[in-house]
């Protein structure tokens, strides 16, 4: 995939991720469906496999899951001109996703401690719970269905569903599951 991105495109990407940063209550991963809509469906800056690879590599690697955002920037940059642009993409997407939320968190941290008994603070904290929880499940759904493009892809959906149930119901370490997923995929069974 070869792209030519203008400065205005990078600025638009930066701006979009800044908005997503402010909306990422529940973690950056809850904005992944919107990143897919924007980067893959609307702008065509990323392919579906690149999108999924970004999430999968970041999940397989140690560290905070938010690093999948860095890989999206990396892949957009690669599509637009190579490794140097890739690093620039990392800078754009990571600054975009981190700057607004960390600034807000920093300002709110001490204030929130002193005022956590206020009625509207509790209303916000508790009221968002059902929405944030459903958002996580929806995110899993969107990511899994990105690899299910036709009926013959049913094993992928089944694997995602099984992984969800196993993690939900057991204490099995997720590395075993990721390893099992890698093996099943390597031999072409999913």
């Amino acid at each position: 995939m070869n792209l030519s991105l203008q400065w205005s495109d990078w600025l638009a990407l930066f701006g979009h991720f800044m908005v997503l940063s402010l909306l990422s209550v529940g973690g950056a991963i809850t904005t992944a469906p919107d990143m897919h809509r924007y980067l893959v469906d609307r702008q065509h800056w990323l392919t579906d496999p690149q999108f999924n690879a970004s999430v999968a590599i970041a999940q397989a690697a140690p560290g905070p899951n938010v690093l999948f955002v860095a890989l999206m920037g990396w892949h957009v940059g690669l599509n637009a001109g190579g490794p140097l642009m890739g690093l620039f993409g990392v800078l754009v997407t990571m600054l975009g996703i981190m700057l607004p939320s960390t600034t807000l968190t920093y300002l709110a941290a001490s204030w929130g401690h002193r005022n956590r008994n206020l009625r509207w603070v509790r209303a916000f904290k508790q009221g968002m719970a059902p929405v944030v929880i459903a958002l996580l499940i929806a995110t899993g759904w969107v990511l899994a269905s990105a690899s299910v493009t036709s009926l013959k892809d049913w094993p992928v959906g089944l694997l995602a569903g099984l992984a969800a149930v196993v993690v939900w119901r057991t204490r099995l370490h997720m590395l075993w599951l990721l390893g099992a997923g890698a093996l099943l995929g390597w031999f072409g069974w999913v």
């Binding site: 940063s21 909306l23 209550v25 529940g26 973690g27 469906p33 919107d34 809509r37 496999p49 690879a53 999430v55 999968a56 590599i57 140690p62 560290g63 905070p64 899951n65 860095a70 990396w74 981190m98 607004p100 939320s101 960390t102 807000l104 968190t105 920093y106 300002l107 941290a109 001490s110 929130g112 401690h113 956590r116 509207w120 509790r122 209303a123 904290k125 508790q126 968002m128 059902p130 929880i133 459903a134 958002l135 499940i137 929806a138 995110t139 899993g140 990511l143 690899s147 694997l159 995602a160 992984a163 969800a164 993690v167 590395l175 599951l177 997923g181 995929g185 390597w186 031999f187 072409g188």
Partner: protein, 200 residues
């Protein structure tokens, strides 16, 4: 930004014998090591290392910090590290913890992406990533499923929570609406309804 004076007071009152990070370098290294142990979720490692081993925070303090980290937008674990760094060394501490959480893991992830690029066209590698992607999707859904238990004692009651959750899921997963509309529409509704249910 200057810290409010009472932010340090509570920690200081509890005695100088209490363990705490010695320096910005200590913060940076500690958070780097935490992040590198966290496969698919750093939170469990943060709790085990900082509360049980290093004892920088009591369990109660940890839960309080975690609640705020969750309310705020942004990656929860990153917010948490920022807030813990801020407790001890203000803005510089927040930056040191944040840098520790992100710098080395970012390099690891980019190296993995480079390795991936070399072998991306190997059918086995593409397949393996496809399999891992499916598992990763399942893991994220499972996090949501695990948290559903928290809705049992929600002020809105379980049926209303399920209704809100189903609307949110349909909007995002089935209708593929932009996140901003779903989050604003359902979020404002849910928070307003909750506000009316809470005691004054």
């Amino acid at each position: 930004m200057p810290l409010p004076p009472d932010h340090f007071a509570s920690a200081a009152e509890k005695g100088s014998s209490r363990p705490q990070p010695q320096s910005l370098t200590d913060l940076f290294v500690s958070f780097t090591l935490l992040a590198l142990q966290g496969f698919g979720g750093v939170l469990a490692v943060v709790q085990r290392e900082l509360v049980e081993k290093k004892r920088w925070l009591t369990r109660e303090e940890f839960v309080e910090e975690w609640a705020v980290a969750q309310i705020m937008p942004g990656p929860n674990v990153v917010n948490l590290s920022l807030m813990i760094g801020h407790r001890y060394f203000g803005l510089r501490g927040a930056m040191a913890a944040l840098a520790g959480m992100l710098t080395v893991p970012l390099m690891v992830v980019l190296m993995l992406a480079l390795v991936y690029a070399q072998f991306a066209h190997h059918p086995g590698v593409a397949g393996a990533l496809r399999g891992m992607g499916a598992v990763a999707a399942g893991l994220i859904a499972a996090t949501g499923l695990k948290l559903m238990g928290a809705l049992k004692h929600h002020p809105l009651g379980l049926p209303m929570c399920i209704a809100l959750a189903v609307m949110c899921f349909s909007g995002i997963a089935l209708m593929r609406l932009p996140l901003v509309y779903v989050l604003l529409g359902l979020g404002v509704t849910a928070c307003t309804l909750t506000y009316r249910k809470l005691d004054r």
